[in-house]
């Protein structure tokens, strides 16, 4: 595990590189794309576990913080969807340079999955796009999280009154400036015209309207696609889970197995 900073001098990104286990390295890398806001905090340790498992399975893995997130440079209020998509492409190139791999897959969670799907239009030669509980529409996602915030704030100290209870410019501890809201509202996976990865998989932690939508959407994609439900992880809309760490071992296992299977199918063999 090698922590480092990469990217431009003005917008340094914090990353952790997990080289493949030396006994069976693959010519394949995986970039992990974190979710947004408090969901990032919930899943950080879980992503580390996923990275370790993938490295043990022979993949070179890079997990990183977007600009203005985590340990990367920038104030939280400077976050930008366009920048985060660009950051994913930067991370893909960084991993190719560091590991010397020719094939790279993206694994994204929640809004990180949405960012990964958009980034896949810009990154060259991606293998597998794994979307874990992906957010289909950014505006709907914000509405959903605002409801979570509202329910959560009801249980906390502070002045009463609707205005105090429902801050519009922040979301469960993270700034939400108008410009960022506007960007979220433009994000709809239905608008993606070019799916450039070789394979896309949606992993859902529960069945519902959104997962049904995804199943239908996958049928229309011009690339090979898979849908799987892995019950257990998630609980994204519960106010009581806002600060609970999410380890999601079943989902980690499913992702590791899935990438291994796809690698074999695509001719990526253990050397």
């Amino acid at each position: 595990m090698h922590p480092f900073f990469f990217g431009s001098a003005e917008q340094r990104l914090f990353g952790v590189y997990h080289p493949a286990a030396s006994s069976h390295p693959r010519d394949a890398g995986v970039v992990l794309c974190h979710p947004f806001g408090h969901e990032y905090v919930r899943v950080y340790r879980g992503f580390r576990t996923l990275a370790i498992r993938l490295a043990e399975a022979g993949f070179h893995v890079l997990r990183f913080d977007y600009y203005a997130c985590g340990d990367s440079s920038g104030d939280s209020a400077e976050g930008s969807v366009r920048q985060w998509i660009s950051d994913i492409c930067t991370a893909v190139e960084e991993l190719r340079d560091m590991a010397g791999v020719s094939k790279v897959s993206l694994v994204g969670l929640r809004f990180g999955a949405t960012l990964a799907a958009f980034a896949a239009q810009k990154c060259d030669d991606l293998d597998h796009l794994i979307l874990w509980d992906p957010v289909a529409n950014g505006g709907r996602f914000l509405d959903e999280l605002r409801l979570v915030q509202k329910a959560w704030l009801r249980t906390k100290p502070g002045p009463s009154g609707a205005a105090a209870r429902e801050p519009r410019d922040e979301l469960i501890g993270f700034p939400l400036p108008e410009q960022l809201v506007a960007e979220f509202q433009t994000m709809d996976v239905a608008e993606i015209r070019e799916w450039r990865a070789r394979h896309a998989t949606v992993l859902a932690s529960s069945e519902g309207d959104e997962s049904t939508e995804w199943r239908e959407r996958l049928k229309t994609l011009p690339i090979a696609s898979t849908y799987r439900c892995v019950p257990g992880a998630g609980d994204w809309t519960s106010a009581s889970s806002v600060h609970h760490a999410l380890l999601a071992h079943e989902m980690m296992h499913a992702i590791t197995a899935l990438l291994g299977e796809t690698g074999a199918r695509l001719g990526i063999h253990v050397s």
Binding site: S73, S76, G173
Partner: protein, 295 residues
């Protein structure tokens, strides 16, 4: 694994204590809502070298081998971090700070390690007093439906009120703590710990959010009325804040309070020009840490 936030210039920072930020529960080194990142950068901009890092088994750090208690592991981790900065950055004094269990780890380290000059304890060490109990019950009794059952002692509130009326003096029952998720000591043991810290000259900054466990400004002083803090104690009460200071205005208030306390306690002149944000590239720090600038 940790991230060091360095002041732009080396001038003066070795004369000031370096700041260590300790995990809040299981949250990794960026802190709740990225609070530790903004705090580290704000402190570095004022000339304090700051390191946020993951204690064993949290964030990016492996668990320590063996079967030591979490408290012993945390103490060893804090001391290892101080050793690292002593050797690599030539600093010899430290401030330890943390939220919730991070505050407990900070206090336990400040109790035993002579290198620690200050401790910032956030959302921990909230002990009930007579006044806090009365306020708590009055707040709950504001709901008329509860009156009858309460007065009749038929619900938990009524039973607790009866118990509270039998508390003597200004201090709650020994050993009782209202916010015991942090792994902190009993009140009596905490009083002993604070006396030891004060005797060694450690400056304490205790910050409490609102809520049931802590509900008026002087609760900490009242709970520890048997401890002579001399002039080394400062207390901040933020009644609108939740346990991890989630709202942005509360994060800002916390940041301002800590930076202000550090400046005043560690003799930074008001008119001293803060270090500007540096442009230097990041450099590897230690075996398992990365370094960043103050922004």
């Amino acid at each position: 694994m940790g991230v060091v936030c360095e002041p732009a210039t080396e001038s003066g920072y070795r004369a000031r204590p370096a700041v260590l930020l300790l995990n809040a529960g299981l949250i990794h080194r960026v802190g709740p809502s990225r609070l530790y990142v903004r705090l580290a950068r704000a402190l570095a901009a004022q000339g304090f070298l700051t390191m946020r890092f993951d204690l064993s088994g949290r964030g990016d750090s492996d668990a320590r081998p063996g079967v030591q208690s979490t408290a012993m592991d945390s103490l060893a981790d804090v001391q290892a971090a101080m050793d690292l900065l002593e050797q690599s950055k030539n600093v010899s004094r430290f401030i330890v700070a943390g939220v919730c269990s991070g505050a407990v780890a900070a206090a336990e380290a400040a109790r035993v390690d002579r290198r620690i000059a200050g401790a910032v304890l956030i959302s921990a060490y909230a002990y009930p007093t007579v006044q806090s109990r009365i306020r708590h019950y009055l707040r709950r009794l504001g709901k008329p439906k509860r009156w009858w059952n309460t007065l009749a002692g038929r619900n938990e509130l009524g039973r607790a009120l009866r118990r509270a009326l039998f508390v003597r003096g200004g201090v709650a029952n020994e050993g009782e703590m209202t916010d015991d998720t942090t792994g902190a000591r009993s009140r009596q043991a905490a009083a002993v710990m604070f006396r030891e810290m004060i005797a060694r000259g450690v400056c304490l900054f205790v910050i409490h959010p609102g809520g049931d466990a802590y509900n008026y400004r002087r609760q900490f002083e009242d709970a520890f009325s048997d401890v002579n803090f001399e002039d080394k104690l400062a207390v901040e009460y933020v009644p609108q804040a939740d346990h991890t200071f989630t709202r942005l205005l509360n994060q800002q208030r916390l940041q301002d309070a800590i930076v202000g306390w550090a400046r005043s306690r560690f003799q930074i002149r008001v008119n001293e020009t803060p270090d500007p944000a540096p442009e230097s590239p990041p450099t590897p720090f230690g075996l398992r840490a990365a370094a960043e600038s103050s922004r």
